[in-house]
Symmetry: C2
Subunit: 119 residues, 2 copies
Amino acid sequence: MDEQQAISAFSALAQAHRLRIVRALVEAGPDGLAAGALAAAGGISSSNLSFHLKELEHAGLVRSRRASRSIIYSACLTALSGLVAFLMQDCCQGHPEVCAPAAAALAACCTSKESKLDA
Amino acid sequence: MDEQQAISAFSALAQAHRLRIVRALVEAGPDGLAAGALAAAGGISSSNLSFHLKELEHAGLVRSRRASRSIIYSACLTALSGLVAFLMQDCCQGHPEVCAPAAAALAACCTSKESKLDA
DNA sequence: GCAATATTTCAATAACTTTTGAGATATTGG
DNA sequence: CCAATATCTCAAAAGTTATTGAAATATTGC
């Protein structure tokens, strides 16, 4: 992840419809959601949704595949974790107090689910 | 950190000058940098810099204090780590594969410096 | 092949953001 | 107090992004 990719990703996430779309897709997991389902959930017109999905796709945050008449979108998890890594990358240059709380939040979130996965 | 704050923060970071300013301030640490120093480093006019610093301040990513004739800016580390926590918040809802790589990057970055700190 | 469904494209417009430069304000040293 | 320094404010212009609605494209079931 370089600066330009990070800026594209931040721009993509800096819009309410798109941030909600990304969160919905992360929640939906690898199966993703059809464009129509996202439009219905977001109360947004299909052409406007299409515009936002393209922005997200260009930013590398989501991918799409066709399934019959629908286009299914899913989150690019590596892009999201790469963005976090990019933000954190500079944080520790002598100042671990930046990432300590982030690391704690992340640790709490992941360890609580790891047990679920194992089950 | 709620959705609206996250959007403000993403908007603030979605601009090359501002992203560089934030990174420079994180690197500079708690002492921060004077507006003039940032302008010189970024090759940007003082009025344009002032505009961007206000955007960052409104987004809660930086704070300012006056020191004699200069205004010193510094990064709000808690806002940055809060943003990471917000991005990660939804990630684990059954999908730890999102945060595992982010957690690894974060862990690598922090553990390598912790020893430095201890010294 | 035709009608129905799902999504995208396009153009117009509205809304917002960035840059510029001129001038205003605040602080200090002499 | 005055001149110098540092930063901010404001308005205009340029550039970018979001929304809308109509029309185009792709896929399927009959």
